[in-house]
């Protein structure tokens, strides 16, 4: 019996250690949307959705650490990683060897999405009618509030300061280490409001239906048309920010990007697979056309507004 057990462990161990997979380097926090998407892609690949392509998520825990792992990939090796306009700007501005700037030139895009940011506040547990309870937009002019962000780099600080000057206020910026920690901060009420993605707004609402969106940065079909956009409300379109998020294949030799993209597209249409179900549930607007995605990269920069 001892030998059988030993052989079983050895077989299980070797199948994992020597399995052929394509690394998928997650350049984001563990609790954020990038990792969530990566884990679902890996599950779909495991289920055979992408043919023989098996993806192996590598999660160093932050964007910069992820960039460093990207930099360590062998020349010419095939791997997937994630592009985000915000982190591109952070790494470009810092020019730090521990947070290297990754060029996506020549890499093949798989799927892109543009996500707006939403100013979320608590509504004192009286539903999402924000007109008579919780914070209102005028409070942002009259009170000193604590506003949470998913990071505390110069990029967010600059944006926060620009909004402060438009509001004529002195709000405190609280930069968390990732969106999930920011969400926990909002739930514990240590901050009064957060700028976050629609995904995290939904997750806050999942725990308690006590939150509302006061402002949005881009006009997408996720919230009511009557919710003002930040640029319109403060009269400065340069304040607009949006996440452009794209998964890329480096050294795509066998049409990996196309295979994954077409599988995702049909899954989304049929509401099947992990990615399909996730995208429909979160109302994601995904772009699969390679050319359109490359153009989006040029037009959606965090610093280009």
């Amino acid at each position: 019996m001892r030998n059988i057990l030993f052989a079983l462990v050895a077989v299980l161990f070797s199948t994992k250690v020597f399995a052929e997979t394509i690394p998928m380097i997650v350049t984001g926090s563990t609790g954020g949307g990038i990792n969530a998407f990566a884990q679902l892609m890996a599950k779909d690949s495991e289920a055979g959705k992408y043919g023989n392509i098996k993806l192996d998520p590598i999660v160093p825990g932050s964007a910069c650490k992820g960039f460093a792992v990207v930099g360590k990939q062998a020349k010419g090796s095939t791997f997937l990683t994630h592009y985000e306009n915000y982190y591109q700007l952070v790494s470009k501005l810092k020019n730090n060897p521990a947070c290297p700037y990754v060029s996506f030139e020549g890499a093949a895009p798989i799927v892109s999405k543009v996500g707006g940011l939403y100013l979320v506040v608590k509504t004192n547990g009286k539903g999402d009618n924000i007109s008579n309870n919780g914070l209102t937009l005028s409070d942002f002019k009259n009170k000193k509030l604590k506003i949470g962000y998913s990071g505390s780099s110069t990029v967010e600080k600059e944006w926060h300061n620009q909004m402060n000057s438009k509001w004529g206020s002195d709000h405190i910026m609280v930069g968390y280490n990732g969106s999930s920690k920011m969400r926990a901060g909002m739930a514990s009420e240590e901050v009064d409001a957060v700028w976050t993605s629609y995904r995290h707004f939904l997750r806050l609402m999942k725990v308690k239906k006590e939150y509302a969106i006061l402002l949005k940065t881009v006009d997408q079909n996720k919230v009511s048309k009557s919710t003002p956009t930040l640029g319109d409300y403060l009269g400065d379109p340069k304040l607009t920010r949006a996440w452009l998020s794209t998964w890329y294949v480096f050294n795509d030799k066998n049409g990996i990007a196309k295979t994954i993209a077409s599988s995702m597209k049909s899954d989304m249409a049929a509401n099947t697979g992990n990615i399909g179900a996730y995208a429909n549930k979160k109302k994601l607007v995904l772009e699969f056309d390679a050319e359109t995605q490359t153009n989006m990269e040029k037009s959606y920069g965090w610093d280009q507004y």
């Binding site: 609790g31 990792n35 884990q39 160093p60 910069c64 460093a68 947070c99 604590k146 990071g151 968390y176």
Partner: protein
């Protein structure tokens, strides 16, 4: 759903091995299987871990009763009482009672954490509150060790200092890496834990020289269960609560239930008491479930093996919330009970066969685990940080340190290394909330 059954079954199998073989505790088992566990979903991972811990409790008592050896630390009371019962010719009855008690304890543990989750619905911790909670857990681990206070505090300070390496202060840009890029990724706790805890545990395992005592007995199953019902109930309650004590978990559950039962049976107590062993082993399993609560609810691992599971849950994007815990328990409780029923049947009917997997000589086992951990630490280092060799070197140094200082307990050090980044995040975020810190520039 079948994935969860497979994960649970696999966990149970690993638990049987870990429970039977001294030196292969929960921590060693999870460390050795780390590379494989990375493939499991959060729900499957939790089911795997829970079934592993529960089965290890069943079979830990089998070796304790038949061989007088503690397969895992929580089985020491079972060694005292169980082996004495075997000598009296009541080994089989003890296996039955501990098995049935463990089964009830598991059920109670599930009910207990569902109840706690329900009452914890409204709890959301601020950054400072979370930091204080982590500090309390970290400091309470000192109580578990026999180290001098100077050693304990030095280890804690060292862990906090090492946690700063590669820390970004919520800005994403790694700090404190002293222009050595391989340090910019920080120091992952895994190679340190593999060396300082796993290898230390393996190296300290003694060879099996005990005399096996297996007897055939006749007894009434129902009558015995009814006779021991209060011991089972006491064990469930004590085990459920004590299982949540950091660092001690099931060890505390079993020892507290043992002491309580000795007190209750004070007047009639003689060594080889069925009430004591039943209550102890019931508490073991109740504790093995309730110890999950701080982990799943607040992301606080309270034992070495939980720390490994937590790191895996974290990379999978697991969300700590009472909703998730409640959902997990209410949706999958029957899988846990089915697997436990299976382990119970195996323990009662085939216990005498399972003791055969206990090796007489541990040398091959020790070498095998060392080689596997070399591979695993390399893979983990490569996967998370891109520096496999650095991870391997850390493991080798840690193994050497653990071997050189066998009397020092490194549990507080490893715990602080695991929670270090979260502790720092909570601390610096708390400062930002109060306007005392503006973040790194």
């Amino acid at each position: 759903m079948y994935e969860l059954f497979i994960a649970s079954g696999l966990g149970s199998l690993v638990g049987i091995i870990a429970g039977c073989i001294p030196g292969v505790g929960m921590f060693v088992a999870t460390a050795v299987l780390y590379a494989m566990l990375m493939d499991l979903d959060p729900a499957a991972l939790i089911m795997f871990y829970t079934c592993m811990v529960c089965s290890a409790q069943y079979f830990g008592s089998v070796t304790a009763i038949y061989l007088g050896m503690a397969g895992e630390a929580a089985s020491f009371p079972a060694v005292i009482e169980g082996y004495a019962l075997s000598k009296k010719g009541q080994g089989q009855k003890s296996i039955y009672l501990t098995g049935i008690g463990s089964f009830v304890g598991t059920g109670f543990g599930l009910f207990f954490i569902a109840l706690l989750s329900f009452f914890a619905m409204d709890i959301s911790l601020t950054s400072f509150e979370r930091m204080i909670l982590f500090c309390i857990v970290g400091l309470s681990l000192i109580l578990v060790t026999n180290n001098s206070k100077i050693v304990d505090f030095s280890l804690i300070l060292l862990a906090i200092a090492l946690s700063h390496i590669g820390y970004s202060g919520n800005s994403n840009i790694p700090l404190f890496y002293f222009d050595m890029l391989w340090l910019s990724q920080g120091i992952h706790f895994f190679p340190l834990a593999a060396g300082l805890l796993s290898m230390k545990e393996v190296l300290s395992a003694e060879d099996n020289n005990a005399k096996k005592i297996i007897t055939e007995e006749q007894f009434n199953y129902v009558k015995e269960f009814v006779k021991h019902k209060w011991s089972i109930l006491r064990g469930s309650v004590i085990g459920g609560i004590a299982g949540m004590l950091p660092g001690l978990t099931t060890i505390c559950s079993s020892h507290m239930a043992y002491l309580a039962e000795q007190k209750v049976t004070e007047k009639t107590y003689t060594k080889g008491n069925t009430y004591c062993i039943t209550s102890t082993e019931t508490a073991n399993n109740a504790g093995s479930i309730s110890q999950l609560f701080p982990l799943l609810m607040f992301g606080i691992p309270i034992s070495g093996s939980e720390a490994i599971i937590w790191s895996l849950l974290d990379i999978k994007g697991w969300e700590n919330s009472p909703n998730e815990v409640l959902k997990l328990v209410t949706e999958h409780w029957y899988i846990l009970l089915v697997i436990n029923l299976f382990a119970l049947t195996l323990a009662i009917k085939f216990a005498s066969h399972f003791v055969k997997i206990v090796p007489k000589n541990n040398t091959v086992l020790k070498i095998s685990i060392f080689v596997i951990l070399c591979f695993v630490t390399y893979i983990v280092g490569n996967k998370f940080q891109g520096y496999g060799f650095f991870s391997l070197i850390l493991f080798l140094i840690s193994t050497l340190v653990g071997w050189r200082f066998p009397k020092v307990s490194f549990i507080p050090f490893i715990f602080l290394m695991v929670i270090g980044p979260i502790l720092l995040d909570s601390f610096y975020t708390g400062l930002m909330v109060h306007g005392l810190y503006g973040g790194p520039h």
